[in-house]
Structures are given as structure tokens and as C-alpha cells.
């Protein structure tokens, strides 16, 4: 059965303001608040809100059949929280339907994966935390900014515990291979790769409203037909795009949302499924390892990093920025940390590209790449000065590294101690549990029917449901306690071992009900 994996990127850059060199050292605020507010509200109104409402509607219509994945950059979330919180609310609502998965990505939407592993890991973790806070999900699949992927980044994702990554199905990498399979990272076979089908994705995000396109107007039936007509063994169709595609790149007047609404029905008829990336990664085995020694992205015709690091200026700005990484990792200043996130955003580098204008290229308020570079370097000049004021330049990098290692080690030490404490606590509770267990072994069994009686009561009055759910949770916690409690005596004597695990699932069942 063919499976469509739909994924949308939600990211808006923080617009920098016009910053002259004489502002260096005098003005430490780098952002154009007016433009930020205008841009994000416009995007939210024209694209995010209608698109997310449509998806919400679709989850209602199709239930668990329709699945979709999102990733939000931390910087983008901050902007949305400030100026368009309704988008976050909609996403939370979507998250509750269980049809939506949130992916991990670097907090800044920057290029740290190409510069500094530590930074990359730190900011990805930070974004995961943010996602967890907002949507209650821990991302299991990673997507890097603009789908930048290389073998090394894949290996890094593996080390961070991600099960999969999504990447671009770039022609120059795939060659004769099809993107409609699950591949694995060449350096770590445990990391599965989902590759974007750029043709099917761009049909929607770039060409949908193009009346000169031979397939115009595109209907969901035909689109589903294309997928259904793919060879039998090609099972996974990855359609990834920016959420802006719905409403901004393709205006709402093109009826793109109607197209989306009709898509699941059309797919259902043809026996095509929807799934989220982690579902696919979980159930589909990788067919082969995919070698991508050079970074690949979803940008431009070249599908590489040339639109951010193609010319000398871009590389200069990039290296100047990440030179400070060490200092910033040690730094605790909240404003510096925030500026660091915002300055890292890949958009800043994109404005400096000298490549011939490509699709969707917007240079912001900059006249030219040189203008963009001048402005960015002025800001960076001030930023670096601030960072160096915190950690004077005389402090050698070695010293700094030593300092950093100490802090890092301290962190680790705390972690191991926390772990120890939790272990000890668990043992304590085990022992306590064991004592309690001996006293009233049959109590949980008795409690369960009591809960059953409570559940139907909760149904009519929803308000009561919340407090009543709590005891159920407590029970859940109790259950595993009970389980090892029986194991402790088992350690000494092998004979009762068999009996203990059998009892444990039984106890779980009762609590779940």
C-alpha cells in the first residue's frame, strides 16, 4: 500500500533593521519590529491560519486516516508567540487530534550543522524542549534547516537518538534511484532517511497556480492518480514543503486549500494511505544506505548549500559568526543567546547570494547582496564586540575551552548524580512498594472496578473528568512499582521468576481500563 508523508515547514525569519556602522557599540537592538509584525501577521492571515484550519477540518472529516507533520523553528515560534499566537493555538488543537507529528529542527533555522556540532546539538535539543512544552510531543524525527543533509549530519542525528531524518531527494545524489523508498544513513544504519519527491512537492508549492504549466489546473484526482500509478514497489511518497506554499506562494484564490481538502478522499479511493514520518520510519525497513558525502538541501536548482555559502562574503560572515560559538556556549546572557539564535538564521545568508535570482527569492529590504552583507556585518560587528566584552579576547581559546569543558563536565556530573538519585529513589520506592505489596497484595485488583464505576460518571460531566483522571495516572505509576517489587525477591530465588512477569501485565490491563 502506498503511503503519503505530508510535511510542512513553519518558519519566518526575524528581519534585521538597517544598521549602520556608526551604530556599532551604540545600539544593541538589531531588529525591525514593524516589519516582523507585519510579515508574520500577513503570513499568518494569508496562509498559516486558513491552511491550519483546513487541516483541522480534514482531521475531523477523515479522522485518523489523514496524517500530517510539521516542524517549527524556535525563532519562528517566538515570532508566532509574540504576534500571531492563534497559529500556535491551532497547532495545539491539531496536536490533540493525534494526526499530527512535530519534528525536531535546529532552534535558529541556521546552518550550525555545517559549522559546529555542539551548537547544532544544543539548539536542536532546545527546540525539542520547546515543542514538548507547547505540544506535548517529543520529536523523534529530525529535519535540518532547509533540509540540509549529509552523511555526517545523519550520523549526528543518530547519536542524538533520532530514528530518522528527512532530506531532499536530489537528483544528483539519487541518480537512478527513486525517492519513494526509505533509505538509511550511510554512517549509521539506524537512522532512516525519508527523501522528498521534489517533483510532486513542487507541483503543489511552485506550479499549482501557474497557468502556463501543462498540467494546469491540477485536480486532486489527477494528483492521486499520479501517485497511484507509480510502480508497485515504490511505497513511500514524501511531499514536503513550506506551509507558506498554501496561501503565499500559491494564493488562496487558486483554491489550493480545496485541492488539499479533496486529496484524502481521492487517495482513499485509490488505496493510498497517509502517515507521519515516525510511523513510516517505525514500520518500513530501509532498502539501502544512501551516500551523501556533500551537504544537500532543498534550495535552488543546485540543491546544495550554495545559496547560503556560495560566495566569499557569505563564507566570511558564516565563519565570523561561528568563531564566537565557543564563547556563546559558555555565556549565560539571555539577550546574547537570543541574538545568537536570530543571527544564525539561514535567511540572513541567503540575502547575500550573488547567484542569479532564483524562485521565491526575496531580498528583504536590501538592494543588493552587498547591501545585505554590509548590514549583517555591521550587526555582527556589534554582536561580537558584546560577546568579547563578556569574555575578553585575551582569554585564550584554550582557556575558554577548558572553562567550557568544566561546565560541560559539571553538567554531566549533575546528570549522573540526578540519575543516581532517581535510581536510589526508585530502589527506595521499590522497597517501600515491596513492603506495601506484602501488606495488601490484592488491593489493586479491588481498586480497578471502583475506577470503572468512576469512568462512566465522568463522561457526561466533562469538567469533572480532569480531576478524576488524576487517580488513574497515579495508578499507572503504581503499577510498574508493583512489577519490580516482585522482581526483587525473584533475584534471589529463580523459581518464582516466571510467575512475577505474568502478573505484571495483568495488573496493567486493569489499570488501563
Amino acid at each position: 500500500m502506498k503511503t503519503i508523508c505530508l510535511y510542512f515547514e513553519i518558519h519566518q525569519p526575524v528581519h534585521l533593521k538597517r544598521y549602520r556602522f556608526f551604530d556599532i557599540g551604540a545600539d544593541h537592538y538589531y531588529y525591525d519590529d514593524y516589519e516582523n509584525e507585519r510579515a508574520i501577521t500577513e503570513t499568518a492571515e494569508r496562509s498559516y491560519i486558513p491552511a491550519l484550519k483546513t487541516m483541522l477540518e480534514m482531521t475531523e472529516t477523515y479522522g485518523k486516516y489523514f496524517k500530517v507533520a510539521f516542524s517549527l523553528s524556535g525563532v519562528g515560534i517566538e515570532l508566532l508567540e509574540d504576534y500571531a499566537p492563534e497559529v500556535i493555538e491551532l497547532l495545539q488543537e491539531l496536536s490533540k487530534t493525534g494526526c499530527v507529528e512535530f519534528l525536531a529542527e535546529p532552534y535558529s533555522h541556521g546552518l550550525s550543522s555545517l559549522a559546529n556540532e555542539e551548537v547544532f546539538m544544543e539548539e536542536t535539543k532546545r527546540q525539542c524542549k520547546k515543542i514538548k512544552e507547547l505540544f506535548g510531543q517529543t520529536p523523534k524525527v529530525l529535519r535540518n534547516s532547509s533540509l540540509i543533509y549529509s552523511d555526517e549530519i545523519g550520523a549526528l542525528a543518530g547519536r542524538m537518538g533520532f530514528k530518522g531524518m528527512i532530506a531532499e531527494g536530489a537528483k544528483h545524489v539519487l541518480g537512478w534511484k527513486s525517492p519513494h523508498f526509505v533509505y538509511s544513513c550511510a554512517h549509521n544504519p539506524k537512522v532512516s532517511l525519508l527523501l522528498r519527491d521534489y517533483k510532486l512537492s513542487d507541483d503543489i508549492s511552485l506550479r499549482f497556480n501557474d497557468s502556463s504549466w501543462s498540467e494546469y489546473p491540477l485536480m486532486s484526482d489527477r494528483y492521486a492518480d499520479w501517485i497511484a500509478q507509480l510502480p508497485q514497489e515504490e511505497q513511500v511518497i514524501n511531499i514536503f514543503m513550506e506551509l507558506c506554499a498554501l496561501g503565499i506562494f500559491q494564493p488562496l484564490s487558486s483554491n489550493i486549500l480545496e485541492f488539499f481538502k479533496a486529496l484524502p478522499a481521492a487517495c482513499k479511493e485509490r488505496g493510498i494511505e497517509f502517515a507521519t514520518p515516525s510511523e513510516i520510519v517505525g514500520k518500513t525497513k530501509a532498502v539501502a544506505a544512501m551516500d551523501m558525502p556533500e551537504p544537500v538541501s532543498w534550495n535552488d536548482e543546485e540543491r546544495d548549500t550554495s545559496c547560503w555559502l556560495g560566495n566569499g562574503m557569505q563564507r566570511e560572515a558564516f565563519s565570523k559568526l561561528y568563531q564566537e560559538a565557543g564563547r556563546i556556549m559558555v555565556c549565560q546572557d539571555r539577550r546574547i543567546k537570543q541574538d545568537w539564535d536570530r543571527l544564525q538564521a539561514s535567511n540572513n545568508f541567503r540575502y547575500m547570494t550573488t547567484k542569479p535570482m532564483s524562485v521565491n527569492m526575496i531580498r528583504g529590504f536590501y538592494d543588493s547582496p552587498y547591501d545585505a552583507f554590509t548590514n549583517y556585518m555591521n550587526i555582527l560587528g556589534d554582536f561580537i564586540k558584546r560577546v568579547q566584552d563578556l569574555f575578553p579576547i585575551e582569554v585564550e581559546n584554550d582557556e575558554l575551552n577548558a572553562l567550557y569543558t568544566t561546565i560541560h563536565n559539571q553538567g554531566k556530573e549533575i546528570e549522573t548524580r540526578d540519575h543516581e538519585i532517581s535510581q536510589l529513589r526508585a530502589r527506595l520506592s521499590k522497597l517501600e512498594g515491596a513492603v506495601a505489596d506484602k501488606k495488601e497484595e490484592k488491593v489493586p485488583a479491588k481498586k480497578a472496578p471502583a475506577k470503572k464505576a468512576a469512568a462512566p460518571k465522568a463522561a457526561p460531566a466533562k469538567k469533572e473528568a480532569a480531576p478524576k483522571a488524576e487517580p488513574v495516572k497515579e495508578e499507572k505509576v503504581e503499577a510498574p512499582k508493583a512489577e519490580p517489587a516482585k522482581k526483587t525477591p525473584a533475584k534471589k530465588a529463580a523459581a518464582p521468576k516466571a510467575a512475577a512477569p505474568k502478573k505484571a501485565p495483568a495488573a496493567k490491563k486493569t489499570t488501563k481500563k
Binding site: 549602520r20 556602522f21 556608526f22 560566495n311 566569499g312 562574503m313 563564507r315 566570511e316 550573488t354 538592494d367 543588493s368 552587498y370 547591501d371 552583507f373 554590509t374 556585518m377 555591521n378
Partner: protein, 435 residues
């Protein structure tokens, strides 16, 4: 195809950009092989290159004098004594009343831009009448407003299509306060022209809006540059990392916006000290600029080496880290292209026509001194940006050649010769491939 061209300047005698442009255009046309250009100059030096026929307007008779071949043969500069006699046969009226006729019956020209310029323009036009009667040609091409009356006269006499080349308008020179006499000469020339070639879209718009010309007969004909001669390429770069030089090169007049350069310089010097500002050129605002620099207390960092000639210009570019052209209104401005050839990054005002065909320059509004200062500063402090602009600039400017301009002009000529009128839309379509 024979072209009768009227011009005021031509190398080696150079007063400004007009000479360079005239040279490029004629050279570009001559490379096509079948274009024969007759170029009329008020006072040639006799050392002009031989790819075109030069006619010395100072030696074209307008009053009949009984001269002997042998007597004048040695005195001819530009055209020959034979030409003189041919012209003498085509004197069309009695101009003996005119003052300043010499023994050959000719009106002398001082050359350049003397104070009696309007008389010279008038004389030039009278002589053009003689030429138009004695020469055979298919097209008339007049460069800059000084020669428009001559072009119009030649058209009246011969009935051939007239092409005028707008290198500048009085709106550019005067920041909007036009001289009515000059305006009327320009307007009259444009009204009679069948095709108006403007050196940039900026100028084209001025011509359309201020001179009320039909957009269809106006065409943007951007200038180009000739590749540097070996002599100039071999000038070693004398840039010094510890001290940067920002250069202004051009006439120091109102049109070129020199005061904005000083203002920007002051802002840069408020912040840094290892930058020097070079103010090359002369003009009516030079003393005012020296005063201004002194009043800002930056005179020790601003240098006024005066007018630069020939090789000096290129030495100046090679020594500079940044070239700035803050013109308030620049019809084209060939200087940035020359600077780019020398690998010197440029900051030009958005009000400069050459910006329309250049990508690897920094463009700022002439009045935006903050932006200008910012650009100067980052070019002086950022080696990568400097390198990018320098390298890409050379590549870009190498693609802009007079040969291509020649082909584009040829396209205009063809339209005019074929049917006597010109259409810009058709032209744009036809030159799409000349990139």
C-alpha cells in the same frame, strides 16, 4: 552604409566622457566592416585614429576664397585639400558678412568649451550645411546638444534620417534649473530627430518627460568601455592594507555631488582613522569643497590632486580601495566602469545611468550619506567583500563592450534606413540576443 556624424570631442583630445563615448561608438561601428563613418569635429588634432574620416570643421569653407592647392595642402589637418575644394563648390549662401573668417574662407573654432560657445554652435551648424550638400551619406548622427543644430540642418538639406545621441541633458547639468537657450536647442534637436539615443533609461525618461518626446522614438543606448591597454593593465596596484584610499574622480561640479562625498567622508572619519579621501578632478566647486573639508576638520585626510589625465587616471584607480561617484544626476558615467576594469570596487548613486547595466557595484541614493559612509566603511574593513566586488566587477565589465553597442546602434540605423522611422519596442525585440 555611410554615416555623417557630428561630434564635439574625440580622443586624443579629451575634455570629458563625450570624447570616450564618441570614440567607442565609432569604433564599435567600424568593426562591422560595412559602416563608413565621417566624423565632423570642430578642431581635430590630426592625431585621431584612422578608422574613420575626420572632417575638420575649422577648415571647411563657407565663403569662397581663391586659394592655391599648393598653399593649403600643407596646412590641412583632418581632411585633405581635395576635400576642401569639393566643399568650396557647395557653399550655399554668401557668408562674407561673418566676422572671424580666415584667408581660406573658414570659421575657426577654439575647441573645447569656450565662453562664446553659442556662437561656435551656430557656426558649426552653418558649416554642416556645406557638408550636407557635398557629402554622400545615409544617416546623420549628432552627439550631444552642441551638434544638434548641425544635425537638424543637415537633415533639412539632405532629407536623410537624423539620429541624435543624448549624452546628457541640461536637467542633469543644472539639477533642474535649466538654461532656456540650451533647453530650446536640445528640444529643437529632439523634435526633429527620427531616433533619440539616450545613454541610459534614466536619460530616456528625462527626454520623454521633460522634453515631451514620443517614447517610441527614444531608445536607451548604454555606453561601454574598451578593454584596458597593456600599458594600463600593467600598472601595479599600490593599495596598502594599513591605509585605505577612497577616491572621487571627476569634475568637481554640482552635477557630480561632491559635497555628499565630503559628508560621507566625515562620517567615516568620525569612526576610523586609517582611511584617506582622494578628490581628483577640478571644477567650479573645488574651492568650496576644500573649505567644507577644512570646516569639518578632516582636511588632513582629504586630498585634492587636481585634474588627472591619461595614465594618471588609471594610476589613481589602481591606488584606490574604493571609487565613489555620488552624482546627483549622471546620464551614464563611464568612470565606474573604468575603475572596475582596474579591480576597484565602486559605490555609485542610484541616479547614475551606468547602474542600470551593473550589478557588482554598490548603489546608494546620492543624498543617503549614511548609506554611502556605511558602504565605504565596509569596503575598507571587509576584505572579502572587497574581493568579491573586485573580482566579479572585472568579469562583469569585461562583458560590456562597444562592439555590442555598435551592433545595437546598427539595429537602429537599419530601422531608420528601411522606412525612415524608429520603434523602440521592435528594437528591444531585435537586440534581445545582444547580451
Amino acid at each position: 552604409m555611410k554615416v555623417l556624424m557630428f561630434g564635439w570631442e574625440f580622443p586624443p583630445k579629451i575634455y570629458g566622457g563625450l570624447a570616450v563615448a564618441s570614440y567607442g561608438i565609432t569604433k564599435g561601428l567600424s568593426l562591422q566592416g560595412d559602416v563608413e563613418t565621417t566624423f565632423c569635429l570642430p578642431k581635430p588634432t590630426g592625431e585621431e585614429e584612422g578608422f574613420l574620416n575626420i572632417i575638420n570643421m575649422s577648415q571647411v569653407p563657407i565663403a569662397w576664397r581663391d586659394v592655391q592647392y599648393d598653399n593649403i595642402k600643407g596646412r590641412m589637418v583632418g581632411h585633405t585639400a581635395e576635400d576642401y575644394f569639393r566643399f568650396r563648390d557647395h557653399i550655399y549662401a554668401d557668408f562674407n558678412y561673418m566676422q572671424g573668417l580666415d584667408d581660406m574662407g573658414c570659421m575657426g573654432f577654439a575647441g573645447g568649451y569656450p565662453s562664446n560657445l553659442h556662437d561656435e554652435i551656430n557656426n558649426f551648424s552653418i558649416i554642416a550645411g556645406v557638408l550636407a550638400r557635398s557629402e554622400q551619406f545615409d544617416i546623420i548622427h549628432a552627439h550631444d546638444w552642441l551638434t544638434y543644430p548641425a544635425g537638424v540642418h543637415a537633415k533639412m538639406v539632405s532629407g536623410k534620417p537624423l539620429c541624435i545621441h543624448v549624452h546628457a541633458t541640461d536637467f542633469d547639468r543644472s539639477r533642474g534649473k535649466v538654461n532656456p537657450t540650451v533647453y530650446s536647442i536640445e528640444k529643437n534637436g529632439m523634435d526633429h530627430a527620427d531616433c533619440i539615443m539616450c545613454v541610459s533609461e534614466l536619460t530616456r525618461q528625462t527626454v520623454i518627460n521633460q522634453y515631451h518626446q514620443d517614447p517610441k522614438k527614444c531608445v536607451a543606448m548604454h555606453n561601454a568601455v574598451y578593454p584596458l591597454s597593456e600599458e594600463y593593465t600593467n600598472i601595479p596596484s599600490t593599495r596598502r592594507p594599513e591605509e585605505k584610499v577612497v577616491t572621487y574622480l571627476g569634475r568637481i561640479t554640482m552635477q557630480k555631488g561632491p559635497e555628499y562625498f565630503i559628508e560621507a567622508a566625515k562620517r567615516v572619519l568620525d569612526r576610523t582613522h586609517n582611511i584617506r579621501f582622494c578628490f581628483a578632478g577640478s571644477g567650479d566647486m573645488m574651492n568650496a569643497m576644500i573649505d567644507l573639508a577644512a570646516s569639518y576638520g578632516i582636511a588632513d585626510r582629504c586630498h585634492f590632486p587636481g585634474f588627472q589625465r591619461g595614465k594618471q587616471v588609471y594610476e589613481c584607480y589602481k591606488r584606490s580601495d574604493v571609487f565613489v561617484m555620488p552624482s546627483v544626476s549622471e546620464p551614464f558615467g563611464i568612470a565606474p566602469l573604468e575603475a572596475m576594469q582596474c579591480g576597484c570596487p565602486c559605490i555609485i548613486s542610484k541616479q547614475s545611468g551606468c547602474g542600470e547595466i551593473l550589478d557588482n557595484v554598490i548603489k546608494v541614493d546620492y543624498w543617503d550619506i549614511d548609506a554611502m559612509a556605511d558602504a565605504m566603511y565596509s569596503l575598507c574593513t571587509n576584505e572579502q567583500m572587497w574581493k568579491q566586488l573586485s573580482d566579479e566587477g572585472i568579469k562583469e565589465v569585461d562583458r560590456i563592450t562597444w562592439e555590442k553597442v555598435g551592433l545595437r546602434i546598427r539595429e537602429c540605423y537599419n530601422q531608420l534606413m528601411g522606412r525612415g522611422w524608429f520603434n523602440n519596442d521592435e528594437y528591444l525585440n531585435a537586440v534581445k540576443n545582444i547580451k
